[in-house]
Symmetry: C2
Subunit: 557 residues, 2 copies
Amino acid sequence: MTLSKQEMPNQNYLCETEQTLHYEIEEQVMQLFASSSQTTSIEDKIDNIIHDLSQEFLSTVNANTDIDINSLLGKFCESKIPLEPANFESYLQDLGKNVITHSIHTSSPQFIGHMTSALPCFVRPLAKLMTAMNQNAVKIETAKALSFCERESLAMLHRLIYNFSDNFYVQHIQNNSSTLGILVSGGTVANITALWCARNAALGPKDGFGGIEKEGLAAALDFYGYKGAVIIGSELMHFSFDKAADLMGISTHGLIRVPTDCNNRVDIQALRQAVIECRAQNQLIIGIVGVAGTTDSGGVDSLSEIADIAQEAHVHFHVDAAWGGPLIFSEQHRHKLAGIERADSVTIDGHKQLYLPMGIGMVFMRDPHMAEAIEKQASYTMRKGSFDLGKRALEGSRPGMALFLHAGLNLLGLKGYEFLIDEGIRKTQYMADRICMMPEFQLLAEPDTNLLLYRYIPEPLRELVAKKQLTEIDNQLIDQFNERLQKIQRQIGRTFISRTTKTTVSFGKEIPIIALRAVIANPLTTEEDIDAVLNDQIQIASQFEISNFLEAIEKSV
Amino acid sequence: MTLSKQEMPNQNYLCETEQTLHYEIEEQVMQLFASSSQTTSIEDKIDNIIHDLSQEFLSTVNANTDIDINSLLGKFCESKIPLEPANFESYLQDLGKNVITHSIHTSSPQFIGHMTSALPCFVRPLAKLMTAMNQNAVKIETAKALSFCERESLAMLHRLIYNFSDNFYVQHIQNNSSTLGILVSGGTVANITALWCARNAALGPKDGFGGIEKEGLAAALDFYGYKGAVIIGSELMHFSFDKAADLMGISTHGLIRVPTDCNNRVDIQALRQAVIECRAQNQLIIGIVGVAGTTDSGGVDSLSEIADIAQEAHVHFHVDAAWGGPLIFSEQHRHKLAGIERADSVTIDGHKQLYLPMGIGMVFMRDPHMAEAIEKQASYTMRKGSFDLGKRALEGSRPGMALFLHAGLNLLGLKGYEFLIDEGIRKTQYMADRICMMPEFQLLAEPDTNLLLYRYIPEPLRELVAKKQLTEIDNQLIDQFNERLQKIQRQIGRTFISRTTKTTVSFGKEIPIIALRAVIANPLTTEEDIDAVLNDQIQIASQFEISNFLEAIEKSV
């Protein structure tokens, strides 16, 4: 619509209104930025509202609300940015109603299906502190004390893994030419970083050849006389290795996934064979990966045996201990990681079993000079010889997450973490025992750590399970039942268990089956909570539409 | 030392002590995790201490303390994890004394040297909320409402860039097969992600060839008949592009850095020539990069002209607008980004000019299906057809940073961000004008946005500057002077300006010179603060050891 001349508002009037709006906006914005003493009122008000919202959220027992996904997404369909600043009170009210209420209660004691759990209370005020400090860990000029604090925290974990001499740590802990570890946003970036270092080191500068960094992958393979490059590990390697293989140009076909045994550990014979075959095919083996706690089932590879193979083959040995690394805190369970100290690089996630907030991945390096293979510089920062942590890292600007790591190591201590690890594994064993005793369930593997795979068996099929006479069709029916069960359980939202697929042997044939997957990492989860989750599943199975499936099964049996 | 038999403590006694210690640890740890009502006392105590520490930190005017780097790093040399949990009060006291005190006051109005600044007050309580919620944005099962909230926030910025129809957004905003943008940890990962998509799309599956993802870079180049692959952009491209080129296997030599003009914009003729040459050499051009706000100087390339070149060449056009992207909020300055709407992908950082905490990078895609080129799946999650955001992303587990983005867009609004952008550029112009008026300084380029390059000219050389008669040796002396000046200023810690290198022409020859670099992005910075920073530099220049340099210069003149 175009306004005719006489309808157009007075030009001066418009300008005046605009001017007034401009001042209002300026005032509103500057109030939000005003230095602390002046903002006390607004920030305190927001803080109070958020405190209440947080407390309510944290004290909710249910894993989730039962809102339907389509109704939920309907609340988030606005593609236009609001013109003017919203009133913070009504904004927070909406946030509570639409976002917080329908978020997953990852701290709920009966949410035992993923690797997110309750966190120690100090991380919440620390998050505020980190944001108040707004350091950028990429360089010393925006993160002075924090750069050293980060190096110290990483050195502590490095020592726990490698246990080198006092002298080693004196030499490297605050030496700007050494890198004991890199703090990254998560295990994926940690794994990619480790393999990036390994690839660049294996195809480095030599005899006038500039190295892969300067000359590229194709030229480097050519110069060194390789037909291609591969990464070898268990079939249960995390999907971040697919990303690494794709990103680094060696292809997902170059990611060789070796079969595992019934306990989800890589088959050592098959691994050795894969190495021999790659060598015979003139493939560069960039790295051999050992998994310490698979995402699927928590299984820990036999790291010592993999270390032997890597050592014999003179190949980089990387351990993805994103999940299982903290077992090293436990006197009782540490032995499961034996051999990790021989790894060239190790990934550990702080946001998993170090009970720290999301966004803390770490990669540790046996050789403090390994990260030089990926070093980059920039003139406005990242200068050679500086303490800029961003010199040797995939990421650039990043938050001061080291604050959490440092606090965790100090406020929980070795013994605190040991307790948490031991308890998780103890309770997982409790759940495994319960499952074995309950006719409704079948345990699918003895747990190595604190992940558990099991499934519900509909009544008509239980006898066949006991006799090990399930056909492939029976397994398909059980699969459908369990998938449905998990979805309904998630939708109701009282409790939560995730699901995955697992390979099993049926009449001598390997088939994939659907498994329910429990992750017992929440210190608040009690044995009663575990019982409650299992009983919830039994109750769901006996009600709802699942009964239809039962009929189908009965007919087919 | 080994204890002799009679010195060894009684075995039972030891066990009892151990048992007691175990219970004490258990109690301490469980207190930290106890559900909200019970922890109120501990969490509230920590919150109070941290509140005071934060407020003190935020209200400090100086950019930094003057502690010597060696004394500081000496405080962080402990490589052993404490055995038992520390007392939180003494821990926080130490944290305050060692870490917080010696951190950079990035919110100080006189810290105008890097892209970190004061943040709006709502981000601090929100950080606590995000940590309390502990969502993992990788999948819907650990981030239900948040996944949709994130998609909505990204769609809002997508619309600001591309301004497609209502219908387009209705169709894609909450469609699990569409990706309008990806939230990542920072601009580096955003740039890498964009080029990864571009590379995989350019070398995708075809005529029985599986594509680069499955077959690798060497095979893909071979199949498509390319000699190699390159990325082309300005010489001022961020160093994340070196990382991308290295990581993706195309080599840093394959990152073609085209010269810029005196205003730090890529030379369009040279860019066009580079494209022609790469074509002639049978190189695949993965992408042409336009920079909207160089890290060095804030310069914005002529995006429309680059878009023309990319379009003619049928090449992916990526815009790194990590810094300058938010100019799009400003009616007055938006025209500088003209052409950005023709980009295939755009990087914008939330933790830069959206005034949000560290850890928020974003990449936007013109084609909602572009990200399929990097899609990965995993059985325990990331299922096809799900709303799992981690399906199409470099990173895996990640925090619910969308909370900040959503709050920023709503609580500041279009007009709020416009005000912030306009103010930054207005104050930068003020600083440029001041510098031009002051005999002590030389402005090195007219600012495009809110970065400013200048340098101090020692008195004996000022006449030569005016006459444009500086020799290369004069420039070297000025370089040494400015480097020293910047280091002393940083060390004293009252104010802060960073430094970089810039190419300049001296007697027809291109030489690199050292530049002081101001970044005016802090809403708290006033014109008086800018004067204070410049006066601080003049004062430092006239005192301290710099006077020695002056003598040297006087002798040489």
